[in-house]
Amino acid sequence: MVIKLENVVKVYRLGKVRVHALRGISLEIPRGEYVSIMGPSGSGKSTLMNLIGALDRPTGGRVYIDGVDISRLTDDRLAVLRRKKVGFVFQQFNLIGKLSALENVALPMWFAGVSRSARVHRAKQLLEMVGLGNRLHHKPAELSGGERQRVAIARALANDPEIILADEPTGNLDTSSGMAVIQLLEKLNHMGKTLVVVTHDPEFGRRARMRVKLRDGLIRGIDRNGGT
C-alpha cells in the first residue's frame, strides 16, 4: 500500500468552536491505483488530500505514506516527504505569477537540490510532455486556464513522485480543457503513478477504478470497477 489511513480524525479549532472535518477515516490505496474522492462541499475531501499529501498532520489516527507514519514527523521530514513522494495539483493552479512556466516547473527540483542545468533540462522535457514546449517562458498570466493547469501538472511531476494528488483539477476549466487535463492525469496513472483526484463531476469521478464517497467527514462507500 502506498497510502494507508487508520481511523484518521482531523479537528480544526475556530476560536472556541471545534470543527470535525474528518471523523475516523480508514482507507488503503495500493500503488498505481486511480482513486476518485467525491462528496458534498464541506465533507472533508480537501482535508483528506492534505493529509495524504503530508501538508498537515492528523489530530488522531495514523497516516502512512509509503510506509512512513507522518503523524509524528517534524516539519522538515514532512517537507522532504512532500518533495519526494507527492505532486499536488490544485483547483486554483497555484503557480507563482512572477516565474515563467519553466521556472515554476523547476521549483520543486530547486528544493530537492537538483543542479540548475539539470532542472532546466527536465522542466523542458516535462513541459513538452504536457504539450507546452512552445510556452516555456510564458508567465502564468499569459497562459489559458487549461495551459496553467498543465504547467501545474508538469510541476507536480518534477521530482518524479509516487503519488499525484489533484484537488478539483478541472474545477476552474471549461469542458474541453478539463478533458485534456483529465486525460493527461490518466496518462500519468498509466505510466504507474498513483492518482488521487477530488472532483464534483460525476462523469470524471466514474472513470476512476476506485471511488471513495465522503460525507460529514466519514467514508460512505468505496466502489471498485470490475471487482469487489
Binding site: 501538508l55 498537515d56 517537507a79 512532500r82 499536488f88 497555484n94 520543486p108
Partner: protein, 397 residues
C-alpha cells in the same frame, strides 16, 4: 551555486515593487551615506594632518597668542622670542609676523598674505627636512636682505595676471620689494599663496613695532621636547601673568587638538548614521512583514512543493539582505559624492592637498557588509513569520 538561486528568486520579487522598495531604503541610504562620508572625511583628515605635521617637523614648539573674538588676547614681541631662545634645550627661535596686505604688481593690486621672517633663520626654519620648502628659482632670503622677497608658487603663477619672477618688483603698501626666489609648489594653499620678506621691513610697513604673531622654537637634538615645551610655557606665564592667553604647542598636541575636532564630527555623523540605520532597519522589517503577508499563498505553494523551513527562511532573508545591500550601495554612491564635493571644496578654500577624503575599497566592502547585516537582522522576524505559516492555511490564501 545555491546562493545564486536565492538571489535570482529574490530579485524577481523586489523588481515588482520598485518604488516601495526605494522608500523603504531611505533610512539605510542616509545612514550608510553618513557612515561612508564620515569615515572618508576622518581618514582624509588624519592623512592630511599627518602630512602637514611632518612638514612642520616634530622637533619644533609653536608659540602663538590665543585668538578670541577675532583679536589676539595678548601680543608677543621680539623680547618674548629672545627669552624663549634662552630657555635650555632651545636651539634657536624664529619669530614670525603674518599679515594680509595690499600688494601691487605693475598696475594690479591684490590682497596677499605676507610672512615677515628673520632672513638669517628663514632657510633653517622652513627649508629643513625633506618636506620643507624647496626653491624653484633664485635663492632664499639671506642676512642683509631688507627689501627682498621670496614668493610661493601661487603668487608666482596665479595671483596676478602676469607671472612674477626672480627680479620682478612688487609693492607692498607702496614699498618696493625685489623678488629673489620662487618656491616650488607645496600643494598647501596657505604656503603657496604667501610672500616671504624681512621681518623688520614688514613690521615697519605695517607699523606694528616689535610684535610677532608666531614664534617657532626648534629644540636641541636629543632634548625632551615636552620638557622644553613646559619650560617655555612657564617662562611665558611669568612674563604674561597667565597661561590662558597663549598656546605653547608641539606637533603632538596639535594632532590631539585636531583629533578632538574630528571627534565632534564623528559624534554628529555617527549619531545621524545610527538613527538613520535604525529607521532603515525598521523600514526593511516593515516592508518584509508586508511582503510576507502579501505572499502568504506563495509561501503555501513553496511549502507544498517541498520547501523546508530553512529554505523558506533563506528565501525571505535573501529578500531582506538584498534590500539592505541595495540601500547600502545607494548610500555608498551618495557618500562618495559627498566625499568628492568635500575634496573639491577643500581644494578650493583650504588649498590643494589640505584635505583629501577617500572612499577606499575597504570602506566600500565594510559599508556593503554592514548594510547586508542590517538587512538580514531586519529580515529575521518577518522571515520567521513566513516559516511559521501553516501550509494548509497559507494555501487557502
Amino acid at each position: 551555486m545555491a546562493v545564486l538561486d536565492y538571489l535570482i528568486f529574490s530579485l524577481r520579487n523586489l523588481s515588482h515593487h520598485k518604488l516601495r522598495s526605494f522608500l523603504t531604503l531611505l533610512g539605510v541610504i542616509i545612514g550608510i551615506m553618513a557612515v561612508v562620508s564620515m569615515i572618508s572625511i576622518g581618514s582624509g583628515m588624519k592623512a592630511s594632518l599627518k602630512e602637514q605635521l611632518e612638514q612642520l617637523g616634530s622637533d619644533k614648539v609653536f608659540i602663538l597668542p590665543r585668538i578670541a573674538y577675532g583679536t589676539a588676547a595678548v601680543t608677543l614681541s621680539d623680547d618674548d622670542a629672545d627669552a624663549v631662545a634662552r630657555v635650555p634645550g632651545v636651539a634657536f627661535v624664529s619669530p614670525l609676523y603674518s599679515v594680509a596686505g595690499d600688494v601691487a604688481y605693475r598696475n594690479e593690486r591684490k590682497i596677499v598674505k605676507i610672512y615677515g621672517v628673520d632672513p638669517e633663520k628663514a632657510e633653517a626654519t622652513f627649508g629643513a627636512g625633506a618636506s620643507g620648502y624647496q626653491l624653484l628659482k633664485g635663492r632664499w632670503l639671506q642676512r642683509g636682505d631688507v627689501y627682498k622677497a621670496v614668493i610661493g608658487y601661487g603668487v608666482h603663477d596665479d595671483v596676478f595676471s602676469r607671472d612674477i619672477n626672480v627680479g620682478s618688483v612688487l609693492r607692498i603698501h607702496g614699498v618696493e620689494f625685489q623678488v629673489v626666489g620662487v618656491f616650488k609648489k607645496t600643494g598647501d594653499r596657505e604656503k603657496d599663496y604667501t610672500i616671504y620678506a624681512n621681518l623688520d621691513a614688514v613690521r615697519g610697513i605695517f607699523g606694528v613695532g616689535d610684535r610677532v604673531t608666531l614664534i617657532i622654537a626648534r629644540v636641541d637634538k636629543g632634548a625632551d621636547i615636552e620638557e622644553v615645551r613646559q619650560r617655555i610655557e612657564r617662562l611665558l606665564e611669568d612674563r604674561k601673568g597667565s597661561k590662558e592667553n597663549f598656546f605653547v604647542m608641539t606637533q603632538k598636541e596639535i594632532i590631539e587638538r585636531v583629533g578632538e575636532a574630528y571627534r565632534v564630527v564623528q559624534v554628529v555623523f555617527g549619531g545621524l548614521a545610527a538613527v538613520s540605520l535604525i529607521v532603515g532597519a525598521v523600514g526593511i522589517a516593515n516592508t518584509m512583514v508586508m511582503n510576507v503577508t502579501e505572499r502568504t499563498r506563495e509561501i503555501g505553494v513553496l511549502k507544498a512543493t517541498g520547501a523546508s523551513n530553512a529554505q523558506v527562511l533563506r528565501i525571505f532573508l535573501t529578500d531582506a539582505a538584498i534590500l539592505g545591500v541595495a540601500g547600502g550601495a545607494a548610500g555608498i554612491a551618495l557618500g562618495y559624492l559627498i566625499s568628492l564635493s568635500i575634496n573639491m571644496a577643500a581644494a578650493r578654500y583650504l588649498g590643494e592637498g589640505m584635505l583629501t577624503t577617500a572612499v577606499t575599497p575597504e570602506l566600500v566592502v565594510f559599508a556593503l557588509g554592514f548594510s547586508l547585516i542590517i538587512g538580514v537582522v531586519a529580515g529575521i522576524y518577518p522571515a520567521y513569520r513566513a516559516v511559521r505559516l501553516d501550509p494548509v492555511e497559507a494555501l487557502r490564501g
